[in-house]
Amino acid sequence: MMRFKTPAKTAGMLLVLLCGAVSAFAQQADSVKSKDLREVSVTAPRTAREVSPGQKMQAKELERLGSHSVADAIRFFAGLQVKDYGGIGGLKTVDIRSMGTNQVGVFYDGIQLGNAQNGQVDLGRFSLDNMEEIALYNGQKSNIFQPAKDFGSAGAIYLTSLKPKFAPGENTHLRGTIKTGSFGLFNPSLLWQQKISSKVSASFSTEWINATGRYKFSYQKRDENGHLVYDTSAYRKNGDINAVRMEGGFNGLLNGGEWSTKVYYYQSQRGLPGFIVNGVFGHVDRQWDQNIFVQSSFRKDITKRYSILLNGKYAYDYTRFLAPDTARLYIDNHYRQYEMYFSMAHQYALTNWWTIAASGDFQWNRLDADLTNFSYPTRYTTLAAAATNISFNRFSAQASLLGTFVNETVKKNASAPYQQKFTPAVFVSWQPMRSPDFRLRGFYKQIFRMPTFNDLYYTEIGNRFLEPEFATQYDAGFTWNKTFASSWLIQAGIEADVYYNEVKDKIVAVPGASMLSWQMENLGFVKIKGVDVKAKALWLIKKQVQFSTRLTYTYQRAQDFTDPSDSFYGDQIVYIPRHSGSLILGADYKQWEANYSFIYTGERYNSKENKLKNYVEPWYTSDISLGKQFSYKHTLFHVTAQVNNLANQFYEVVISYPMPGRNYRFILTVNI
């Protein structure tokens, strides 16, 4: 164990504090918070409250955390792992409850971010600069009045960008931010919100991210006696990024409804720093990306009982991958993805406790790539969902059934066969006692993910005979929240869930025709048992210091049960720690704010076999930040200084991709 040099007296006090803290964590602020949020939106949908509230982080918390991207912030949620290739421009994807990255749906302002090519969304690309809320739902958002797609993933992350809110007399908000620090980071951004009429507002947000991505990393090995046998340090090369994001749109209110429309543009050029192995301490591969989408949403209560929700989107994604090293295989590939999406959802309130809903979505995806013998696939997806919700004072329940119909055509080679699947979900919530503080909840859901275009058609790797990968989830838990009248403890809450998941026909890569070309197969079978615990509390110390605490703990036993003859049968699956957790402590005192955050990821394995040679040590990082607000002539300034990975721990999340050690960031925000 790591030793802390702590005087005995302090240790005793710590113990008291620790126990105090644990008992005080026995509270829950989530649903209170979410209720608050709902009230912000003047015309919240006329729907029952969420049967199972998700984990959320709001703008204030996100700002205090000072994370660079959504991926950095989401690490503080329970029940997920971020697969992080390191650095500012490194790929960061999320795996919820060990079911795999491809089973996660990511929604931006209510509409799913697609990637038909590889099914993964790089959360490292989404900045927190204009984010109002990040929410994580296991199973699905337990709301029946939503597009059919929202029923369609095993876990979902909802990113909500800032919506303009004007106080009486206000017409314009202007905010400029500059972030700089380690990695040669220069990241200016601008947010502009304009009130056009009492019912319509416009917003525009843009940012530029420029960084060299350079950071020091170190590898050390010790002999069996613990003596250092080698210790080597180098700088991460070719991790530079130059990216621009622009988005803008209009939000409007209707009589009993709302609408919004937005345009999003992202363009980047980055180096891919690649793996570090013996003899290879740098790479020269590069990637260019361009993402454009236009999306609109319209929701209105047509009658007292009937409401309608329309969503539409068009997206274009371009990627160029260049491997220019002529000593190796030279690659210069261009990928173009096109997506069109339209959704219509209806809700009808049969009685004041019983609601039904139906939604239908249609999506079109196409992928073009300049690969030899490429198939040029087009996918037509039709989704239909029927859902019902009953809601009493102490009991509520939802059930939904999703039908998915997928058809594909190709210009070359053969296409995958037609798929038609029906998948159910049930959510219940029960308040067993008179006090509404304590509720029990549970859900069952079956869902699948379609093989991606890469899985099916990537030249020499794809396998068009693939079946969808199924995930079945069972979850039971409780939530407890309380708001206190006492002067020092304001709010407290705890949520805990136990779950059991099965992933079958897991799509995995297996040896192909040659060492370089692998094949995708429906091979894996994984059973996952887990526990998620989240606790939150809000304190007021001496009536001046507002103190918030947020703790998560995750236990996951995710075992591979594919084939009893495998040497890894029953072993913990790759990169999933049994124990992980996080802690955030925040304090506000007058114009000052301080934040401490800690992440722990326990021991895990970088390959299928749980053997010593694949063992990966735990890692844990502490980040601290200090900020101050001050105003000068009606202009509000906010400065923050951060130190991340305070202990300068060198670690890897993914084998051969070293993570940064101690790094710094400075943020200046100006609000006019």
Binding site: F4, G279, L585, K608
Partner: protein
């Protein structure tokens, strides 16, 4: 703010109370398994097995079987060379013993690792970009490499072979061959190099380069078939070379080159992924994947290299071949005629090495590193 500080400490404690801490990464010791009875006094002391390891994982590893003790030790390099930064390296592509030295070609790490064959201790590292295979003759080592100069096509370098003096361990000469050269063999005073052209698919190379070892110049290109890979010499002055085909419509095949005429004299219509020639017999397996069915077909066969006929019989005679998922290497003990076959399984977990007696009955099997592939015998003379 004292409270904040205290709570920070609580936080750190609480976090660490969850489970363990870092102890510092340690050298992973070998896995030692007794597999057979000791046979002291045999002609061979043992053999090294090089595990390729997956690209980017730095998991190339070295195993050793000791005939004198009957003990198999897996992953011995790091313990023998603890100070080698990042251990043996990434993707071990070939291994040979010549004289008292052991040569391991580590492809992604761009080096030939030269070790003492008895102690496995590093003697020197010879840097060669994208190196592939190694062979020896007359005190010289020959190493094939993909990374020659860029000539005609701007993005496809031609390959070369480097000559290394085995006493000074310095590169003495280089010769340009075909595209993406693979295995080599020396017959007489000529070096034969199989050119694959794998980086130029579907425009594969289809030639064997013939190098005069005196002048170290390419004297001929023999047109054989696309995507050449394995190349072995028999005792009768013939070269056996395999074509991998295009994985679509052109199947894998085996060809025989007569080194007197330097021309193809025979083609065997059997798929060959790898082969080992010992005495008059070539031990052959083929693993063929069909894009049309998504299925594998694995076959084992033997070829009499004297009569140049396919024997159409499996060299594994006890049915063990059914439990071999992905044959990846084959070797024959020249003294005992024991046959060794490696199983790379799913490429991402430990493989298995099978030892068969000369009649093809399984003697033992043992767990290896990831992607066991290449075997080099160590004679007892040193």
């Amino acid at each position: 703010m004292k409270q904040v500080r205290n709570i920070v400490l609580v936080a750190a404690l609480a976090g660490l109370a969850i489970t363990g801490c870092r102890k510092g990464e340690k050298i992973v010791p070998p896995e030692v398994t007794p597999v057979d009875t000791a046979t002291p006094g045999s002609l061979l002391n043992g053999f090294y097995l090089l595990n390729e390891g997956n690209m980017g994982s730095n998991k190339a590893s070295l195993d050793y079987y000791d005939y004198t003790t009957g003990i198999y030790s897996s992953n011995i390099y790091a313990t023998a060379n603890p100070t080698a930064v990042k251990e043996l390296g990434d993707v071990g592509n070939d291994i040979e013993v010549y004289g008292t030295k052991l040569y391991a070609v580590i492809n992604i790490s761009n080096k030939v690792e030269v070790m003492n064959a008895a102690s496995t201790k590093r003697i020197k590292q010879i840097d060669i970009l994208n190196c592939r295979y190694i062979t020896f003759a007359n005190g010289k080592a020959y190493v094939s490499s993909y990374a020659g100069p860029v000539l005609i096509e701007p993005n496809a370098p031609i390959g070369f072979v480097a000559e290394i003096d085995t006493t000074t361990l310095e590169i003495t000469r280089k010769v340009i061959v075909g595209y993406q050269p693979e295995e080599m063999a020396v017959v007489g005073n000529k070096l034969y190099v199989a050119n694959s052209g794998g980086y130029r698919a579907p425009n594969y190379d289809r030639t064997v380069s013939v190098i005069d070892l005196n002048t170290f110049k390419e004297i001929k290109k023999i047109d054989v078939a696309i995507n050449l890979d394995r190349l072995k010499a028999d005792n009768n002055g013939d070269i056996y070379v395999t074509s991998r085909g295009d994985y679509y419509n052109i199947p894998s095949r085996l060809f025989v080159i007569d080194t007197k005429t330097d021309a193809v004299k025979k083609q065997f219509d059997i798929p060959v992924s790898n082969l080992c020639i010992s005495g008059d017999t070539a031990y052959v397996y083929g693993s063929v994947f069909s894009y049309n069915t998504g299925k594998w077909t694995i076959t084992y066969n033997m070829v009499n290299v004297k009569t140049e006929t396919v024997l159409n019989s499996n060299f594994i005679t006890d049915g063990t071949d059914k439990s071999i998922r992905m044959p990846y290497g084959v070797a024959v003990n020249p003294a005992t005629k024991e046959i060794f076959v490696t199983d790379a399984k799913d490429y991402v977990s430990s493989g298995t090495l099978y030892c068969f007696d000369k009649t093809g009955k399984k003697k033992w099997s043992v767990t290896t590193g990831e992607i066991p592939a290449h075997i080099a015998f160590v004679s007892a003379t040193k």
